[in-house]
Symmetry: C2
Subunit: 161 residues, 2 copies
Amino acid sequence: MRVNRGVEWAAHCAALLAALPQDVSVPAATLAEFHDLPAPYLAKQLQALVRAGVLSATTGPRGGFRLARPAAEITLLRMVEAVDGAASPYECREIRQRGRGALPPEDCRDRCVLAAKMAAAHEAWRQTLADVTLADVLAEIPPTAPARTRSILAGGRSDAS
Amino acid sequence: MRVNRGVEWAAHCAALLAALPQDVSVPAATLAEFHDLPAPYLAKQLQALVRAGVLSATTGPRGGFRLARPAAEITLLRMVEAVDGAASPYECREIRQRGRGALPPEDCRDRCVLAAKMAAAHEAWRQTLADVTLADVLAEIPPTAPARTRSILAGGRSDAS
């Protein structure tokens, strides 16, 4: 069970943007350079965040990416599922209905117990990520980090987004 | 994020064995046939359950697999991790320490906030699976299923394991 490594990239980039004034957009290449990430792959993750309503893409000389909404309204779950998909990690193939021991259809009206338990675990995972916003993340990163981010990406402007 | 499909096979086989008298061992080929599973791959998952202390392998003419301990002492987590591994699905590559925006080492003594949140979600997933035992699963499957299992795999003997 592995989460797409792009989740780390996307979440870090969103956290960087959350530290900037709201009107500052950052080009994909600049974001890639910030943490030495592979630009073409990062661009794909950034577009996924745009589709999920996490980021807005702006064009023009000062174009790039910025948050599409306040950091307090962006959950970690939304970012993770934007990049990694929302499918349950456990796929029930209804093996209980196969083979010599197959259960009859009338015993299979309810979801397979094992599938239900695995789904409950996935839901607990989702809920934990849904309870964390980008604002929470920003509040817990090293206190010097946001100022450094603003210094590098926004000429030091500190009017928070 | 995908759980190894062998998890479904292994958990179903353990649930079958949990319905049998404790002294009944079932050959891997018979278990494979029960739900029409690919025998060589299933054998690998059964061995993983043995290594995890979920099953015991016995040899001889009546040999095969049986539960290594009472069903109430076998959690779904133990079976899932036996087959799929126990690694966290999120691998933190410390990108915060890379590139033009790298944080200095003194700001990275604590674990990356994003890694900590992802670990908390994984822990919630694990806890949900740790709270479910094979006995719980057996109590929730269709009531006719254990008798059918015993009829096919244990000649109908019903002294519970």
